[in-house]
Symmetry: C2
Subunit: 362 residues, 2 copies
Amino acid sequence: METIPKKNCSTDHEEVRRVNTVTIKDVAAAAGVSVGTASRVLSGNPATSAASRERVAAAVERLDFHPNAQARSLRSTRTRTIGLLVSDVRNQFFADLAHAVEQAALEHGYAILLGNANEREDQQDRYLNTLISQRVDGIILAPQGDGNGVIRSLLRRGIPTVFVDRTVDGIDLPSVTTDSVHGIRQAVAHLAGQGHTRIGYIAGPQSISTGRDRFTAYNQAIADNRLPKDPALVYFGDFQAASGSAGVRVLLNLDQPPTAILAADSPMAAGAVAMLHRMGSRIGTDIALVAFDDIEWFALLQPALSVISHSVEDMGRAAVDLLLQVIDGGTPESIVLPSELIVRASSSTPNHPGSVSGLRKN
Amino acid sequence: METIPKKNCSTDHEEVRRVNTVTIKDVAAAAGVSVGTASRVLSGNPATSAASRERVAAAVERLDFHPNAQARSLRSTRTRTIGLLVSDVRNQFFADLAHAVEQAALEHGYAILLGNANEREDQQDRYLNTLISQRVDGIILAPQGDGNGVIRSLLRRGIPTVFVDRTVDGIDLPSVTTDSVHGIRQAVAHLAGQGHTRIGYIAGPQSISTGRDRFTAYNQAIADNRLPKDPALVYFGDFQAASGSAGVRVLLNLDQPPTAILAADSPMAAGAVAMLHRMGSRIGTDIALVAFDDIEWFALLQPALSVISHSVEDMGRAAVDLLLQVIDGGTPESIVLPSELIVRASSSTPNHPGSVSGLRKN
DNA sequence: CTGAAAGCGCTTACAG
DNA sequence: CTGAAAGCGCTTACAG
């Protein structure tokens, strides 16, 4: 009675994979009820007798039945699956975000289909197509690009989607983002307060909303603190580590190098640290360094890195909440999370910085 | 002709999500061919005329058709989806592994359904059930537990599965693991060569194969180098950061504390670093430190951490290769990847360590 | 509370 | 090369 042999068309080639798939039909037969009744028991429909429930449960147990989610969702159009597309899993921030989203989704009975765009629009679009084809119930997206690719399909098809961390201009979807203004303003004020007047900035790409927002916030903060504005102090990176290193090299080779540097995300900050080490510039002594994103590793560096912190747990949880509301037909408001400066040793430059490392190179 | 209104049973409640789902029927109608022909064109079946191909392609484009993967796999029993279940996404090693697996899978046209066990067997089993229900074509698993849970279902159902990084005793599945013996032997010899005789070890859990393997390798290396064996020098952690910190505290409070410490994975090493900082013990001077796993952050610490390195890219790629072979009905051999010591400043203790930090505490 | 039957969107022999 | 039809494993009104 177990493993009822299916009319298996395979020519007995031994290559008989998955013969052992037990279906709801097998369960129904074993329990002595109809398929409909078995289905009702399985889906928790109250219109079932205690007797059926017991017999079906026993059969499920005995046959080790796992309902075919494909078939189920083909009828019910719900897959209980959420697609999460991040920009770069190896970026600790997104790994933490993936974890937060996954835990929050799990609580609501959803599994996460994780995609990794590698900060590239073509890979994002490829995954987006996969997610659409897999008929995920909704998508949480840290977007790439200008919204002229597959993102349009998402909207057209009415697939519940929310943006996380980033947004796309002209695409009106609920989002969870960080208000970078407050944290960056604090950071610049903190540095200016110590006498720094030349604060370098390693910016993210201006094609990405967080890259733009943080850059705007930096410019604003420079102006607010009446610091001289010098375009040479800004290096445009790509949110990845190598560009952080490149940025440091360029900035430190300036005729008038900065005495403090702000990096717009954690991989670039890591790259900056590596290059500062290589160039023999002592962080917290020769140069102050502050990073956007709070990663546990930053606290382990010596000196520990000052960071602009925002809660990745809150972000992940909020994104799931928002998406669930959209799936339920709601139109939730976007959420903006706060950012906050955490001062550590890397930006505590006791000696007047101008005199320590501001020495002209020629 | 676009969006042909489906016989939509929704009571016009406005809650008409996904009306706009276009099916292969719509495509066939728009292209003026039968559903069968449309299907053949879509799946690249050569038995199609150039004319049909063109008309179908045009219809697909115009209607923005995305085939329903659920329905497709219901017939073909292939989902083109691989489940990857890692122990902890926030662990940089596994994030890197996820990335490597995902890239390798993408090359073969597979999407990855990523699960995160959080180093817990119950969460692993829950995800495993989801993956089975989703009918993934195969599973790449960094396993938890003793193999008496859902893993048995995997075997019974013949679902193609390979182990990665870890294995489970008594479960015979192809695997990709690291040979820890060589790297750990090198590390201990390197430390012993500098005069260290008391080498502490922060072990992983003995319920996990990598925890056991590395511990065995450590014991072996201690014996090989004719170092005194002292059980007090071993602290058993759980592969997570907090236990690395706890381990350092315990070991440094010994009457005869170690002058060198080896941590069995990167999160525990990070925890160890944090605690050494807090206790004012200078890495590379007061104490030597070596970590298993090569994470980019380790190179950024000052002093940079010596590590036992193994290639996570190779591991991810090999796991996908193996799984693909299993899916194709093969029975591939397991793969064991090498490990190698990389010496950096954290384990270069020029002064005779015994005299520097081996001073008795009482 | 239960069974028989239709149907979700595809694929795939089967004839032609 | 193509169409008509069966069927993958479920769910869900419809009667009873």
